[in-house]
């Protein structure tokens, strides 16, 4: 079975990461494990924006790729950006081996609401599956329940499901290197 490895970037909640590793195989036919190493995000920090450049982090992740791993997913608590956008939830190399997700803006606290651990894990799972599917060359989907429907706000993530619709599942390029 294909292996997805999770790489903590900076300080990441271990329980959350464990939950994610347990749930991803429910949705995608893959094995999932957490790597023991940690990637330090400091070099990608932007002093004025107080955010981290996600494309740079994706590049640093290459060092942690191991033979036998199908995909490497970076998970982080820090806020991510690309220069032209105010923030991103995550980024993937289309057909590449690496993807990254941030749960900074998935937390209820980011919107002045009380913390909700279950909701956070649910959102992180959806965004992780979403980015992993991008690495399998899937683009966004019009089916609003499909995990590949675009979501740029936490509310939109809550609206969609955590699974791929039948069409996306068929289209997912498992052969992608």
């Amino acid at each position: 079975m294909k292996r997805v490895q999770l790489l903590p970037i900076g300080k990441v909640d271990a329980e959350l990461l464990g939950g994610l590793a347990a749930l991803v195989p429910d949705i995608l036919p893959v094995q999932c494990e957490v790597l023991p190493e940690v990637l330090d995000p400091a070099p990608a920090f932007h002093g004025e924006r107080l955010q981290y450049h996600s494309s740079e982090l994706l590049r640093y992740m290459a060092r942690f790729l191991r033979p036998g791993a199908w995909r490497l997913l970076g998970v982080t608590a820090v806020d991510l950006y690309i220069p032209i956008l105010t923030y991103v939830f995550g980024e993937a190399q289309l057909e590449g081996p690496c993807a990254i997700v941030s749960y900074h803006r998935l937390r209820q606290e980011a919107y002045g609401l009380p913390a909700d651990e279950d909701l956070l894990l649910d959102r992180l799972l959806k965004e992780s599956v979403h980015e992993l599917a991008h690495t399998g060359s899937l683009l966004h989907c019009e089916d609003y329940q499909c995990v590949m429907s675009p979501s740029h706000g936490a509310e939109q993530i809550d609206l969609k499901g955590s699974r791929l619709c039948a069409a996306c599942f068929r289209r997912l390029n498992w052969a992608a290197p």
Partner: protein
């Protein structure tokens, strides 16, 4: 999978092109990329695009100029401007020139996704309605011409006299004095009123493009001529052709135009078939044509052809008694479109209005009232709502369009008791757009703040 649409991204910064290109590709769009104005024009000539995202500030040609040229090639292209900072003048110019919207860098992902989607949906409906709308616009009532000064009364009489005839009319006057409105009135008073009124702004186009606009062209007759196209004289189909800024056309085009006026037939650029056309011609200019004739820049025979009947529009400063009437007219017009209950102008403000030089004539007055209406509190327009005699604004100074918009939105929201749906309705924008704007302002409910 069917693509969402074809997007052209134009920016001179590599990182913007790359990251935005990838991001939109994931969103499901077909992406084209250009790093300069000339590359953008090449992309446009190569294939069709639905929407262009243009950086407003680039080396060489700027975004505003590029927008104009892209629209010459494809008037249906949806253009969204990306600005580093939103200065009133550039953003307003862009919107007035037909840009769909502008966004500030860095872009809010949720907002840009929403705007692009909405713009493309909007364009689809536009396309469907185009045929319908063209026919409707042709027979809708012209806008109301306001004025009671003796000079304007003479203009109204002239319109009533010449309107029903088929005579060619030349309208002169400074820019912004209402020449285009007079043309509409003439058309509406004529037997041709159920046929199209087609306008062409001669000054804005190069000689090649102007000729193709006027006479049409055959496919491939010049670079950019991707399809066969009918010219305005053909499109008029028995209606009125309005040649605006006639003083700005080249001698070559003047010669061709003279032939059309004499022979009532045209030949498309790159074609050889002679086509009969039926139209009435009205021309306008803010130039002194007789002086241009003396300088050898305007053909006298064309001048006599056009100047069969002459209407001169006086500058606004020469008929200040019309200012209160016009100011009230625009106040009512914008009160309705902005949904604001403003129904009077304070005496102090009016005194200032009557005294201004109004170099830009009625258009400038209209813009001044519009700006004031944005910031004014109900129920009255006050002196401080206008920007009287401000020295030209440095680009970083003054209130940016965004600030004015923000103030207005927050004020409306407050008046609606922080009910966002209600505020969206009042503002005439959709609920999601309002939500994005509020998010950008960092607005949160006062109830939450007080906790």
């Amino acid at each position: 999978m069917s693509a969402q649409g074809r997007l052209l991204i134009v920016d001179d910064e590599l990182s913007v092109r790359d990251s935005l290109g990838k991001w939109f590709r994931e969103e499901g769009y077909d992406i084209g990329i250009a790093e300069s104005a000339s590359e953008a024009l090449t992309r446009m000539a190569e294939s069709h695009w639905d929407l262009a995202l243009l950086d407003i500030k680039m080396h060489g040609t700027d975004g505003i100029e590029l927008q104009r040229r892209l629209h010459e090639i494809d008037p249906d292209l949806v253009v969204i401007m990306m600005t580093g900072y939103a200065s009133v003048d550039t953003a307003v110019t862009a919107l007035k020139n037909g840009a769909y919207d502008y966004v500030s860098k860095p872009l809010d992902p949720d907002e840009i996704a929403h705007i692009v989607k909405k713009a493309l949906a909007h364009r689809e409906t536009e396309k469907e309605n185009l045929r319908l709308r063209e026919t409707v616009a042709e027979i809708t009532r012209p806008q109301e011409l306001v004025g009671q000064s003796p000079a304007m009364k003479k203009v109204f009489e002239a319109v009533q006299t010449v309107g029903p005839t088929d005579a060619t009319v030349l309208i002169t006057g400074e820019s912004g004095t209402g020449k285009e409105l007079v043309v509409q009135a003439i058309h509406a008073a004529s037997v041709r009123r159920f046929h199209p009124l087609v306008a062409i702004h001669c000054g804005a186009l190069t000689e090649t493009l102007l000729e193709s606009e006027l006479f049409g062209h055959e496919k491939g007759s010049f670079t950019g001529a991707l399809y066969r196209k009918k010219g305005k004289f053909e499109l008029a189909e028995g209606g009125t052709v309005f040649l605006d800024e006639i003083g700005d056309i080249s001698l070559k085009t003047q010669t061709d135009l003279l032939r059309v006026l004499q022979e009532r037939e045209i030949t498309r650029v790159g074609g050889n078939q002679v086509i009969k056309v039926d139209f009435r011609c009205v021309a306008a200019t803010n130039k002194d044509l007789e002086k241009l004739i003396e300088e050898g820049k305007f053909r006298p025979d064309l001048y006599y052809r056009l100047n069969v009947f002459h209407i001169e529009l006086p500058a606004l400063r020469e008929r200040r008694e019309d200012i209160p009437l016009l100011a009230h007219h625009f106040m009512r017009k914008f009160a309705q479109s902005m949904n604001k209950r403003i129904s009077r102008i304070s005496p102090a403000a009016m005194e200032q209005l009557v005294r201004q030089p109004w170099q830009g004539n009625v258009r400038e007055l209209e813009n001044a009232v519009e700006r004031a209406m944005v910031v004014a509190q109900e129920p009255e327009l006050k002196e401080q709502d206008f920007f009287f005699k401000a020295p030209p604004l440095p680009s970083s100074g003054g209130r940016s369009l965004e600030e004015i918009e923000r103030a207005h939105i927050l004020q409306v929201l407050e008046q609606c008791g922080e009910n966002q749906s209600r505020a969206a309705e009042v503002l005439g924008i959709d609920r999601v757009t309002l939500y994005h704007k509020l998010k950008r302002y960092g607005w949160s409910r006062s109830a939450v703040e007080n906790r």
